[in-house]
């Protein structure tokens, strides 16, 4: 029997961990993708996604069963990733200091070097996307990565539908002009 997210959440609130497991299965890809979009590192995204579900579980009693689970969990994912970004700024990773590392960089084999053209195009978009401010980027990510409805995105980001539309259109046009700039250049 297919249960809705909210039904499962209700069960989870009542203590059924297995119900929450189903939710994890349903949402791990969207959550992970979103975290990855924000953090650009598999390791960090993995950690943030785990943290997201843990937070959701801890806060299950606070979940409003009238609302939908999807936007809620993605909202937690957004906040968790933001925290991770902030943390990364304070506890940044340290580059290796010995010369071996530096020198070996020249000779290291990194399989990621060459990409196929569609991947290159996609990478370009991702690069440009990254240059956008979070305010303009997140709506686009939620919309096109998860195919969310505007209403859901607004709910996730805790903004009004109107300001979401403004951000979407601003994001699109900045993205377009930057892509054009790159091509022209």
């Amino acid at each position: 029997m297919h249960r809705s997210d909210e039904e499962l959440m209700k069960l989870a609130v009542e203590g059924a961990l297995s119900a929450f497991e189903i939710l994890v299965e349903r949402y791990k890809v969207p959550v992970f993708s979103l975290c990855f979009q924000m953090l650009r590192s598999r390791e960090d995204a993995e950690e943030a996604s785990q943290e997201t579900f843990l937070k959701a579980y801890r806060a299950r009693h606070l979940f409003d069963l009238e609302r939908r689970f999807g936007p809620w969990i993605l909202k937690i994912a957004t906040n968790t990733s933001r925290d991770a970004l902030r943390k990364r700024k304070t506890m940044r990773e340290y580059p290796s200091s010995d010369f071996l590392a530096r020198e070996a960089d020249h000779f290291g084999s990194d399989a990621k070097g060459v990409m196929d053209p569609t991947e290159l195009e996609a990478e370009e978009v991702r690069m440009v996307l990254e240059s956008l401010s979070e305010e303009n980027r997140l709506p686009l990510v939620l919309k096109y990565l998860h195919g969310m409805k505007n209403r859901e995105i607004a709910e996730t980001l805790d903004i009004s539908l109107t300001s979401l539309k403004v951000r979407l259109s601003r994001g699109r046009s900045i993205l377009h002009s930057r892509l054009c700039q790159r091509r022209e250049a």
Binding site: L17, F20, E103, S109, A111, G113, E121, Y144, R172
Partner: protein, 997 residues
């Protein structure tokens, strides 16, 4: 421009239009507008373009395969841990509720302070007051007449009596009582009450043994019969022997409107009256309701035996406190087993022992609690027993089914060093088996109810001071079932901590970054002390200000990151490995001698190293970084008596882990020890080799680049530069191997054989001597299978056509011609846009004959990249690729020892497409289009392209050239690569010309 809709409106609607989320009428109008307005129509296509590219670029990603498993494990841990957590107050509390509770606590506070002063006078005061009460009582205060008990005194008055009730002297004590605690004594009731209580109240410290003696019969024999209209003085109890009694709270004489509340007590009830609007139901059933005719002047607080109660704002509530023979026999405070609260109407708040609100109650809500069990509340459930529902399987399994005496209570107040209450502070009650979370209320109080099946030793309260990331620990005396503690915790003052950081030789470490942490072993968390990073001054000195005074057994972890050296860690107390020693009022930390450790892991492509100290802080992540793998080897620096825990894994192209393992590498007494999980990792302590390179005059030659190669497979082992005096310290994994050392100086390369040895080496190599040595013939060039020069898979899909046929290169095999022993270098400067922009982050590859690629380097911020040690006297093809700027290729032949400087212009790739000639050409059965690039960096490249099923050609990534030539069947087309690189070009049908025979 459309007359129907202005452009501005149309543009606003385009987003919705794209999402197909606008109403039909808007859609029609937008479409009408688009037909007429070219600008908007172009804007739409731009939006579509962006959308398309976004959709392509943003692809959902799968987390790792063990994501769910790991998460579920953590969730299970979480579920276990969260069991027994004290419910935090609901956020929906109104300010009035909080205010009310705060008021109550403030009333309570001075009483604590009075106690020592009043202790001496307690007898006198009690005697006076009791006497006053007796006098008032005996003087026959008239019916419905208010007594004279001072301006603030108020009375409860018997309204009607249907049966028999007694007025007892026994007052009840509110709040909780300390149990063998030396922290702060529990609050007592009012001074006069205290005297009486000491003699009468059961369940108190020192008097609980008298509890069993309390029976209604005995109490009855001591009480005074109550009549309707009788006042009930404060500090007295009413015992209802039979029937019902109605008691009303009245306004005071001073005119202050006090709560107009009515209490109806059933037979068997014992109610204590403490103050206006406050009484305690010690036993039995009591109904409290707002007295409408009087008007409600405030809230009413009904206490429960042993502490806590319900604060009723308005409405009607029924409270039932049932006797429990077991609890009485066990001498537990309160002596009640079950308290049931039914709120019939109005609004109430359940309050915990320490006075902090636990839960808001609304009509229909029913709270059922046992004195030593967490409160359970159901919302609007009627009369069914909530305990029986077992709503939470996680908890019900561990709940004491008898509900008897397996709980203790720890409550109290948190204050700053100057005594101000600290609100909103996270606390944890940590017991060996569980840890409960809580937070202080606005008045600084907290309350925990841990389950303690037996006497629990070693429990403590951890206070996390948010904002400062400080955790302080307060040890608790033994917790036993039924124990209650009322604590006043005072946060310590901060002190300033001077320290000095020295390197291994004792010289001060200047400009080293320091971070301080405190490890909380039971919380299993490391919290940073203070905020930010400290930097040592010129003499290696630093002063940590604003730190909480370290407590006994608390370790302060100091993480030092000297410039250009690996970090190390020390402890301020009871060192696990390094120790900060106190010398002359200063804490000194000496850097240890760091030992390099090499890991040999053939086949490992990536190593992510998480450096964690061993010992109590082993869960702390010092840093996480990716280490370069050179020839399957990784080098880490290890602090003595500590260890680095390395988690390594190999990843496939998608980033999924293929193999993984964990290495704990440590150096103890000079020997490298370690344990390894996972396949094929060797830990070796490298051997040191010191070389000195001398120039022809016999002077140390500094700044010479050298490379150490393994003779058997030519793998580079080390790269380096000689330091001052021509010295270089090398660390070898295995000095029993045959090694070759190459030193380059201004284009000249000299090779030197290092003989195999099992011991440390000190070699002095004169440059002149090297020159005389017969140089070996091996070069750096190697086959594709080697990790340094691996064939890279994804490239094949990147190529729009076969590179192999296009770029015929001269044979470049593993061995060069005899005698070739010197290497060349290339310094590339990359630009794009006609030299207008430098291109950082472009990758430079060496193309091998079979189309394989070896990554040589990545351009820096100035668009420069230097590639050294390249084979000479053969044609080399360098490919430079940048994801946005495009690509460039350079073909060159280096002479021995030459360093070539080259400027390379990157060109974006072009897209060329169009229809193929029909008719004869089609009939000729040609299946490929031959493409040749003319001019430009890729000029001369030829390849074939396969047309699509629709007979069209679409080449998306044609390298930039001046022009292109296409051949198809008997036709040829030439296309000038006009326009900028980004525009695609169309191969128009008229361009195709029959090839002249």
């Amino acid at each position: 421009m459309s007359q129907g809709m202005p452009c501005r409106t149309a543009r606003e609607c385009l987003g919705d239009y794209l999402d197909s989320s606008c109403p039909d009428i808007v859609r029609e109008r937008v479409e009408a507008h688009l037909l007429e307005c070219k600008d908007c129509s172009r804007h739409l296509s731009e939006l579509e373009y962006v959308e398309l590219r976004l959709k392509k670029a943003l692809v959902p990603m799968e987390p790792s395969a063990d994501f769910s498993r790991n998460l579920i494990e953590r969730l299970n841990d979480e579920a276990e841990e969260s069991w027994g957590v004290v419910e935090e107050p609901s956020e929906s509390f109104t300010a009035t509720v909080m205010g009310r509770i705060q008021e109550e606590l403030q009333e309570e506070a001075p009483r604590r302070n009075w106690k020592p002063l009043l202790r001496a006078g307690v007898l006198l005061a009690a005697t006076l007051l009791v006497a006053l009460g007796v006098i008032l009582f005996q003087s026959g205060v008239g019916r419905n007449q208010l007594p004279e008990e001072g301006a603030t005194a108020s009375l409860f008055q018997v309204e009607s009596l249907d049966g028999r009730a007694l007025l007892l002297n026994g007052p009840s004590l509110k709040g909780s009582l300390g149990l063998g605690l030396d922290l702060e004594e529990a609050p007592t009731g009012k001074a006069p009450a205290a005297k009486v209580a000491a003699a009468k109240a059961p369940g108190r410290e020192g008097s609980s043994k008298k509890a069993e003696a309390r029976t209604p019969a005995r109490e009855a024999s001591q009480g005074k019969e109550l009549q309707p209209g009788n006042p009930i003085p404060l500090g007295k109890e009413v015992l209802v022997l039979k029937g019902e009694i109605k008691i009303r709270a009245r306004a005071s004489q001073g005119g202050t409107l006090l709560p107009g509340w009515k209490l109806e007590a059933e037979a068997g009830s014992r109610v204590a009256f403490e103050e206006a609007g406050r009484s305690t139901l010690r036993k039995g059933r009591l109904r409290i309701s707002e007295s409408r005719e009087e008007g409600s002047g405030g809230s009413f607080f009904l206490g429960f035996p042993g502490g806590g109660g319900i604060l009723i704002h308005k409405g009607k509530v029924e409270v039932d406190v049932r006797d429990d023979p077991w609890a009485v026999a066990a001498g537990l405070p309160g002596g009640a087993s079950k308290i049931q609260v039914d709120l019939e109407e109005g609004e109430g708040v359940l309050v915990g022992v320490s006075g902090n609100p636990i839960q808001k109650l609304l009509p229909g809500d029913r709270a059922l609690m046992r004195p030593f069990e967490p409160l359970r509340i159901s919302h609007g459930v009627g009369v069914q027993d909530i305990l029986a529902q077992g709503a939470d399987p996680l908890r019900s399994a561990q709940t004491d089914p008898e509900g008897l005496g397996s709980w203790a209570e720890v409550g109290g107040r948190l204050q700053s060093a100057v005594g101000a209450p600290l609100s909103g502070i996270d606390l944890r009650l940590v017991l060996p088996q569980q840890s409960l979370r809580g937070r202080t209320s606005p008045s600084g109080t907290f309350h925990f109810r841990p389950e303690v099946g037996d006497v629990v030793l070693g429990a403590f309260l951890a206070v996390e001071v948010s904002g400062t990331n400080t955790v302080l620990r307060f040890e608790l005396p033994p917790l036993r079932p039924g124990a209650r503690m009322d604590l006043t915790l005072t946060l310590p003052q901060v002190e300033s901590l001077p320290a000095r950081i020295l390197d291994a030789e004792g010289a001060p470490l200047v400009s080293a970054k320091l971070r301080l942490f405190q490890w909380e072993p039971l919380l299993k968390r490391l919290v940073s002390l203070g905020q930010g990073v400290w930097v040592t001054g010129p003499a290696g000195r630093v002063r940590f200000g604003g730190l909480p005074l370290p407590q006994v057994d608390q370790r302060i972890l100091l993480v030092v990151e000297p410039r250009d050296a690996p970090l190390f860690v020390g402890y301020l107390d009871r060192a696990a490995f390094l120790r900060l020693q106190r010398e002359g009022g200063e804490w000194i930390l000496r850097s240890p001698k760091l030992t390099p450790v090499l890991l040999e892991a053939p086949g490992v492509t990536r190593v992510l190293v998480e450096e964690r100290p061993q010992g109590p802080a082993r869960d702390m992540l010092l840093r996480k970084r990716e280490l370069p793998v050179v020839g399957g080897r990784v080098r880490v620096m290890v602090v003595p008596q500590a260890s680095a825990i390395l988690r390594w894994w190999t990843q496939d192209a998608e980033g999924a882990r293929v193999h993984e393992g964990r290495v704990v590498a440590g150096v103890v007494a000079g020997a490298v020890k370690g344990s390894v999980q996972g396949p094929r990792v060797l830990i070796k302590k490298p051997q040191r080799l010191q070389i000195q390179v001398l120039d022809a005059r016999g002077e140390g030659a500094s700044g010479l680049r050298f490379v150490l190669l393994r003779r058997k497979d030519g793998l580079p082992v080390l790269f380096g530069k000689t330091a001052k005096g021509g010295f270089a310290n090398l660390l070898l994994v295995d000095s029993r191997e045959d090694l070759e050392l190459r030193v380059s100086d201004q284009g000249r390369t000299r090779s030197f054989d290092l003989p195999p040895t099992g011991d440390l080496l000190v070699a002095r190599l004169s440059f002149g001597r090297i020159a005389q040595k017969k140089a070996p013939s091996e070069t750096l060039a190697r086959e594709g299978g080697d990790p340094g020069f691996r064939l890279v898979g994804p490239l094949r899909s990147w190529r729009p056509f076969a590179w192999k046929t296009a770029w015929k290169t001269s044979a470049w095999k593993t061995k060069g011609p005899k005698g070739e022993n010197q290497l060349g270098s290339v310094q590339l400067s990359l630009s794009a846009g006609g030299g207008a922009r430098v291109v950082p982050s472009a990758r430079v590859y060496l193309l091998s004959e079979d189309g394989g690629l070896a990554l040589l380097g990545t351009s820096d911020l100035l668009g420069q990249v230097k590639v050294v040690d390249l084979p000479v006297e053969r044609v080399l093809r360098l490919l430079v690729v940048h994801p946005v700027e495009g690509a460039a290729m350079a073909e060159l032949k280096l002479r021995s020892g030459e360093t070539r400087r080259m400027l390379l212009e990157l060109h974006a790739r072009k897209r060329v497409g169009g229809a193929l000639p029909k008719g004869k050409a089609g009939a000729s059965g040609a299946r490929f289009v031959e493409v040749e690039i003319l001019g430009g960096p890729f000029g001369g490249i030829r390849t074939v392209a396969i047309p699509g099923a629709d007979g069209r050609l679409d080449l998306k990534d044609l390298p930039a050239g001046e022009s292109y030539r296409f051949r198809y069947g008997g036709y040829e087309a030439r296309l000038n690569a006009s326009g900028d690189a980004k525009t695609s070009q169309v191969l128009r049908p008229d361009l195709w010309k029959p090839v002249a025979k």
